[in-house]
C-alpha cells in the first residue's frame, strides 16, 4: 500500500509530484511495498505556445532575427535559423524555465572568475540576453554611425559577430561579448536542431537537411545496414512530422 507522509490528492498531487528534476515542492513520501507510479502523471514535455512574443521586445527581435540568420544563413541546402523558427524558440525559452534560471545557481557573492570557472553572472539567461543585446546596440551605434545591427550589411554583421566570438567587441557593463556569443550560439543550435515542439526546427527542416530522422524508438532492423540510406520517415515527439500541424 502506498503511504504518503503528506496527504495530497488530485491536481495538487500532480503538481507536487512534478518535482522530478530536483525542484523542491514535491512531498516527502514513504514508499514501501509499492512502485512509485501514479496514474496520469506522465512527465511529457510542454510544447511552445503559439502567438505573440512572450519575452522579447521589438528591438531584441530585430537584432536576433538578423544575427541568427548570419549564424545559419538561408540557402538552398536548408532553412535559415529564423525560417526554422529559432527566434520564436529563443523567445519561448527566455520566457520559460531556462530564461528564469531554473537550473542556474545565481546567489552571491559574484566575482568575475576565470574562464575555466564558467558562468559567473548574477543575471538569469533572460536578463543576460536583455543586458547584452542592449550593450551590443550601444557599441554598434558608436562604431557604425548610429545604425542598428539589423540594418547593417551582411558582411558588416558577420564582422561584428566575429568580434563577439573572440570578445574583441568591447561592451559597457558586466557582460563580455564573448560570454554572450557563447550562450547565444549554443541556444541557436538548440533551437535549430531540437524537436519542433519547442518552436524551432519548423517542420523538421533542419533535421531533414542533415539527415537525422528524429525521435525514433527502434532502429533494430538497420543496425548492420552499412553504408546505405535508412529509409525511415522522420518523426518528432508529436508523431510523424508529415502528419503534424506545427
Amino acid at each position: 500500500m502506498l503511504a504518503l507522509s503528506a496527504a495530497v490528492s488530485g491536481a495538487a498531487a500532480a503538481e507536487a509530484l512534478s518535482g522530478h528534476d530536483g525542484l523542491l515542492g514535491g512531498p516527502s513520501e514513504t514508499l514501501t511495498n509499492t512502485l512509485p507510479w501514479r496514474d496520469g502523471l506522465a512527465d511529457a514535455p510542454e510544447a511552445a505556445s503559439a502567438g505573440n512574443w512572450r519575452y522579447l521586445n521589438g528591438a531584441e527581435v530585430g537584432f536576433l532575427t538578423a544575427a541568427v540568420d548570419r549564424l545559419i544563413p538561408a540557402d538552398p541546402t536548408g532553412p535559415s535559423a529564423s525560417e526554422a523558427g529559432v527566434v520564436v524558440f529563443l523567445d519561448r525559452q527566455l520566457a520559460g524555465d531556462y530564461g528564469n534560471g531554473a537550473h542556474f545557481y545565481l546567489q552571491g557573492p559574484w566575482q568575475k572568475g576565470d574562464t575555466t570557472q564558467g558562468y559567473q553572472s548574477r543575471f538569469t539567461p533572460a536578463q543576460f540576453y536583455r543586458h547584452a543585446i542592449s550593450a551590443i546596440g550601444q557599441a554598434v551605434g558608436k562604431s557604425d554611425n548610429g545604425k542598428v545591427f539589423k540594418d547593417l550589411s551582411a558582411d558588416r554583421q558577420d564582422a561584428l559577430l566575429k568580434q563577439m566570438e573572440t570578445g574583441d567587441l568591447k561592451l559597457d557593463g558586466p557582460i563580455t561579448s564573448k560570454a554572450f556569443f557563447t550562450m547565444f550560439l549554443q541556444n541557436v543550435l538548440e533551437g535549430y536542431f531540437s524537436d519542433p515542439i519547442y518552436g524551432g526546427n519548423k517542420g523538421g527542416a533542419a533535421w531533414a537537411m542533415i539527415g537525422f530522422p528524429g525521435a525514433h524508438y527502434d532502429y533494430s532492423e538497420w543496425v548492420t545496414a552499412y553504408n546505405q540510406r535508412i529509409p525511415v520517415p522522420m518523426v518528432g515527439l508529436r508523431g510523424r512530422l508529415a502528419w503534424s500541424r506545427s
Partner: protein, 588 residues
C-alpha cells in the same frame, strides 16, 4: 529540535546504484533498511517513456534528470592560488538526483579494473622505478582483483551485461579483451552487434595488430531476466542512453534491475524528498547514532539507525563527511588528513573522424555500442621512456547522434555561417568520434574541502573542488590520442581531428561524470578514510560507498568497480559486521 523517527537497522543516504545494491543485499539478510533520497521517486513510464524520451533539448541541455545546481552545487578553482567560485551551471560533469541517481542517465559502460590497477603504486614502482610515480600521490587498493571478482560477477548478472569475455578463468577467449583479468563466468548476454562506424574501427584496429573487442554494455543485446527476477528488454538502438533514461527497460539501472524487487520487501522503506544534513554521533564521536534530514517542507527529522551508509554520489559523500566532522580533512599544505584527498577525474581525449564516401548513420546507437581496444590502457603497454604512466581505452563508439551536441565539422571549418552549414549537412551522417578514455592520477594540489565563503541552501559550507590535470595525465592523453588518430587514419577517413585533453581543466564543457576519490579506502587510518570493507576508520558503524573509495581513477568507467565494492561491503556487513556490531572489521 528535530523530530525523532522510529529506529531502523540501516539507514542509506541516497538511493542510486550503491544504495539499491546495499538495500537489496541487506533486506534479503533480514535487516530493516530505510533509504533516504533527497529528491523524487522516478520511474520509466512516468519520467522517460518512449513517447517522449528522445528529447535532446529537455534532457541533455535543460538538465531534466540531473542534479539542479540552483539547489545543490559546489565551488571550483584550478589551484589553491585562485578563489573558488560556484559552478553556476552544469557542464563538465552531470550528477544525478532522485531515485536511481545518475544510474538513470548513464551510458551503461560496465568495466572491471586490470589486476595491476589494484596495486597501482607498487606495480609501477616495481616495473619502472620510484621516479615513475614522482609527483603523484598514488596508493594501492586494500583489496585485490581476485577478492573483488565474485562481486564484479554479481553486478554483471544483476545488469545482464552484454559482452564477449577475453579471459575465462585464465583461458584466453577469441574476440574478447585479451588484457582483462580472469572472469569466473562469461557475460550474461552476447555482445551488441556493431553498427558501421564501430565496425570500421574494429577492422582498422585489427589490421594494425591491435586487439579490438565489443565494449561491455549495460544496453542489452537480448531479453534477460536477472537473478532477482527483474526483466530487461532487448535494446532498440534509439541512440538516447547517455543523459537520458531508457524507455524500453533495455538499459541496466537501479530501476530496471533492483528497485522493483526491493520495494516488495516488508523490511524496506524508501523516503523521498528527504535530504540528509549531517551524520550524528555519540559524544565521543566514535559511533554514529543516525542522521538528521530535512524534508521538502523544511521540517528536520532525526533518523536513528544502528548502521549508517553514505550511498550518495561521490561529491555528496565527501561533503557529508566534511560537514559532519568525521575524519581529518586533507590539507595540501601539510599533506595531513585524508577526507577529500586524492580527488581525481577522468582524462578524456577524442578523435573526430570524417568520411567523404561512407554513410555511418550514427543516429543508430547505444550507450556502450563500441568496438574498443585496451592495448594502451593501464600498464598493458611498456611505458619505458614515455615519461608518463597510465593509459586509456580507445573506443570507436557511437552512442547516438543527437544533433545539438553531435554535428561534427572538420578542423578549420568555422563554428557558424554558410561554410559551417554546408559542412554540417555533408558530415552529420559521415562522421564519428573515437573516445580516448584516460586514467586520472592524483597530485597533492587536487582535493575537495569545504568552501570558506559560499554556503548551500541549508547554511552548510559548500564543497570546494580544487583540480587541474597533472602533467603525467596530459602526456598520457597526448600519447593515447595520437594512437587513436593512427587508427582513425586506417579507417579510410577523409580527415581526422585529434583532440588530446589539454589543460587547464575547464568546468564548463562536458567531459564525463566520473568524479572519484576523497573517501579513499586503504590499509590503515594512516593512509585512508575507510578500510577494505568501506567502513570508516573513525566511526565503526559508518560505511561509505561509491567512486570516492578510489585512490586514483584507472582508465575505465567507474560504475562496474564501485558496484562490485558495494556488494563486497554488503557481504561484509551481513557476514562479519552483524557478529561484531560496533567493531572495526580491520584492526587499525
Amino acid at each position: 529540535m528535530a523530530q525523532a523517527m522510529p529506529k531502523v537497522d540501516v539507514v542509506l543516504v541516497g538511493f542510486g546504484w550503491t544504495g539499491a545494491i546495499l538495500a537489496q543485499q541487506l533486506c534479503d539478510a533480514g535487516l530493516s533498511v530505510l533509504a533516504l533520497e533527497r529528491a523524487a521517486a522516478r520511474s520509466t513510464p512516468v519520467n522517460w517513456a518512449t513517447t517522449f524520451d528522445q528529447d535532446e533539448l529537455r534532457y541533455m541541455w535543460r538538465h531534466h534528470l540531473f542534479q539542479n545546481v540552483k539547489y545543490s552545487t559546489l565551488t571550483f578553482r584550478n589551484n589553491i592560488h585562485q578563489s573558488a567560485l560556484p559552478m553556476r551551471h552544469l557542464g563538465s560533469f552531470l550528477p544525478g538526483t532522485g531515485v536511481g541517481g545518475a544510474g538513470i542517465h548513464w551510458n551503461g559502460q560496465i568495466w572491471r579494473w586490470l589486476e595491476s590497477d589494484f596495486k597501482l603504486k607498487s606495480h609501477n614502482e616495481a616495473r619502472y622505478g620510484k621516479q615513475a610515480t614522482a609527483g603523484l600521490t598514488l596508493q594501492d587498493m586494500p583489496v585485490s582483483y581476485q577478492e573483488l571478482e565474485p562481486y564484479y560477477d554479481m553486478f554483471d548478472k544483476t545488469c545482464g551485461t552484454s559482452g564477449q569475455a577475453g579471459n575465462l578463468s585464465g583461458a584466453k577467449q577469441t574476440g574478447g579483451n585479451p588484457f582483462e583479468a580472469p572472469r569466473s563466468a562469461p557475460y550474461p548476454t552476447p555482445p551488441l552487434p556493431m553498427t558501421y562506424g564501430p565496425k570500421l574501427f574494429e577492422q582498422a584496429a585489427a589490421s594494425m595488430g591491435l586487439h579490438p573487442f565489443p565494449h561491455p554494455a549495460g544496453n542489452l543485446s537480448q531479453e534477460y531476466t536477472n537473478p532477482l527476477g527483474m526483466q530487461l528488454g532487448k535494446c532498440t538502438f534509439c541512440g538516447f542512453c547517455e543523459k537520458f533514461g531508457c524507455g524500453n527497460y533495455s538499459k541496466a539501472s537501479p530501476q530496471t534491475t533492483l528497485i522493483p524487487y526491493i520495494l516488495t520487501k516488508p523490511n524496506f522503506e524508501l523516503r523521498t524528498e528527504s535530504e540528509v544534513l549531517k551524520v550524528e554521533r555519540t559524544p565521543d564521536g566514535r559511533h554514529a547514532t543516525g542522521v538528521t534530514y530535512i524534508d521538502s517542507a523544511g521540517i528536520e527529522h532525526f533518523q536513528p539507525a544502528d548502521i549508517v551508509a553514505l550511498t550518495a554520489y561521490q561529491l555528496h559523500n565527501v561533503h557529508l563527511m566534511l560537514v559532519s566532522g568525521i575524519g581529518q580533512p586533507y590539507d595540501p599544505a601539510t599533506g595531513q588528513g585524508h577526507v577529500g584527498k586524492n580527488y581525481c577525474y577522468q582524462t578524456m581525449g577524442s578523435v573526430d573522424v570524417f568520411f567523404d564516401d561512407k554513410l555511418l548513420n550514427p543516429f543508430i546507437g547505444a550507450g556502450a555500442l563500441a568496438s574498443v581496444i585496451d592495448d594502451y590502457n593501464g600498464d598493458n603497454f611498456d611505458h619505458s621512456g614515455l615519461g608518463f604512466i597510465g593509459g586509456a581505452y580507445i573506443a570507436g563508439m557511437v552512442t547516438g547522434a543527437r544533433p545539438i551536441e553531435m554535428v561534427r565539422v572538420p578542423d578549420g571549418v568555422p563554428k557558424w555561417g554558410l561554410e559551417w552549414k554546408h559542412a554540417a549537412k555533408k558530415y552529420f551522417l559521415r562522421a564519428m568520434g573515437l573516445s580516448v578514455h584516460g586514467s586520472s592520477y592524483p597530485q597533492a594540489g587536487n582535493y575537495l574541502d569545504l568552501d570558506p565563503t559560499y554556503k548551500d541552501q541549508f547554511g552548510r559550507p559548500m564543497l570546494r573542488m580544487t583540480f587541474d590535470f597533472p602533467p603525467n595525465d596530459l602526456k598520457m592523453s597526448q600519447y593515447c590520442t595520437d594512437r587513436a588518430a593512427e587508427i582513425a587514419r586506417n579507417m579510410g577517413a577523409s580527415s581526422v581531428h585529434a583532440k588530446p585533453r589539454k589543460g587547464p581543466y575547464d568546468i564548463t564543457h562536458y567531459q564525463t561524470t566520473h568524479n572519484v576519490g576523497g573517501t579513499m579506502m586503504g590499509e590503515s587510518p594512516a593512509d585512508s578514510v575507510v578500510n577494505k570493507y568501506s567502513q570508516s576508520w573513525n566511526v565503526a558503524n559508518l560505511f561509505v560507498t561509491g567512486a570516492g573509495l578510489y585512490p586514483q581513477n584507472p582508465g575505465y568507467n567507474p560504475t562496474g568497480t564501485l558496484a562490485a565494492l558495494a556488494y563486497l561491503t554488503a557481504d561484509a556487513i551481513k557476514t562479519k559486521y552483524v557478529k561484531a556490531a560496533g567493531q572495526p572489521l580491520v584492526a587499525a
